[in-house]
Subunit: 198 residues, 2 copies
């Protein structure tokens, strides 16, 4: 078979990726995102620059690969919401796993988000990554509302707004040194708007 080798390789690759990201994160926190070069990262990890870059594709991705599981969790959670629930409530609840993941390990998620928040390049790329989740979320909302889903514009607007509510909450959470409950801030942001129709 071919699949066996592929799978073990895939596992190994993921593990290496996480290990490299972990080491890099320490350096970024110490010297700032722009204060560390790819050469620094590679040298500290004991691999060549080529290899290091092969694992991530870009410097930003070294940090932001952490968020990949969040996107999947978000989509799954939305799909698991009861059919009767309106879109806005479902989107709010779908964020719970993501919020839990960010607040588990006190300080972990906070430090990560603070790093992202004060590095414009990371902010921009994180939004790009989020934009990549949107089509899947729109798809789930569309299926939930079958057989007569709202237009693509409407669904897209709701998903985008929900993502921005999350981002707003995260920004305030970081700005407030992580003191208030993140979940409460997300509630407050979602409460600023309400679903119209359906």
């Amino acid at each position: 078979m071919d699949a066996t080798g592929t799978i073990t390789r895939s596992i190994g690759r993921t593990a290496v990726r996480e290990e490299l990201a972990r080491g890099a994160f320490v350096q970024f926190c110490r010297d700032g995102f722009d204060g560390v070069t790819l050469d620094d990262l590679a040298a500290a990890a004991g691999v060549s620059r080529s290899t290091f870059l092969r694992y991530f594709g870009s410097k930003e991705e070294v940090v932001l690969s952490t968020f990949d599981p969040l996107g999947d969790a978000l989509v799954d959670a939305l799909r698991a919401r009861p059919a009767g629930e309106d879109d806005w409530a479902a989107l709010r609840r779908a964020l719970d796993p993501a919020v839990r993941q960010l607040t588990r390990e006190p300080g972990e998620g906070f430090v990560l988000l603070r790093l992202v928040g004060r590095t414009p390049a990371l902010c921009a790329r994180l939004r790009e990554k989020q934009a990549g989740w949107r089509p899947r979320l729109v798809q789930v909302l569309s299926e939930r509302a079958a057989p007569a889903p709202p237009s693509s514009v409407v669904l897209h607007a709701r998903v985008a707004a929900a993502m921005e509510c999350l981002m707003t909450a995260l920004e305030h959470w970081v700005a407030a040194e992580g003191r208030p409950e993140l979940g409460g801030l997300v509630d407050e942001a979602f409460g600023a708007l309400a679903p119209a129709g359906r």
Copy 2:
């Protein structure tokens, strides 16, 4: 006086900027954003690379400087909305000047947005630029609602959501080859959500 010279210089500088951007836009449309280097742009404009870059600061800004007046127009329009109007309606109406500006000169705004839409780097930077408008918009909303404005989180969420509704409408407008009325798409996106409270 010192101001006189400063002003004339400022006018000249703006004019040169626009002229350079105009020429660059043609090249970008022909060869794509990534298909044109700063050397190409400078050579075509008849200035040195140093000088060209001094006018914009970054390659993305050559394209996105076009959006600068939009931010100001947006803030002014929001400030001009009647006091009784709720936030969501006011934000929607505040976008009218921006929409008009983008749809005047048929094809102009459309081609620009299509270029931005298919260049990830430009998308990301445009969102960054929009993020720069938000604090001012939040400030205006806060003043409108004096003496008891909602929390910063709430206002920020509304402004961010409004911006995303605009972006969603723009994306769909470009995807549909500019056929439907942009204003109608913005209405549809805004209609996907409704203001809660106040």
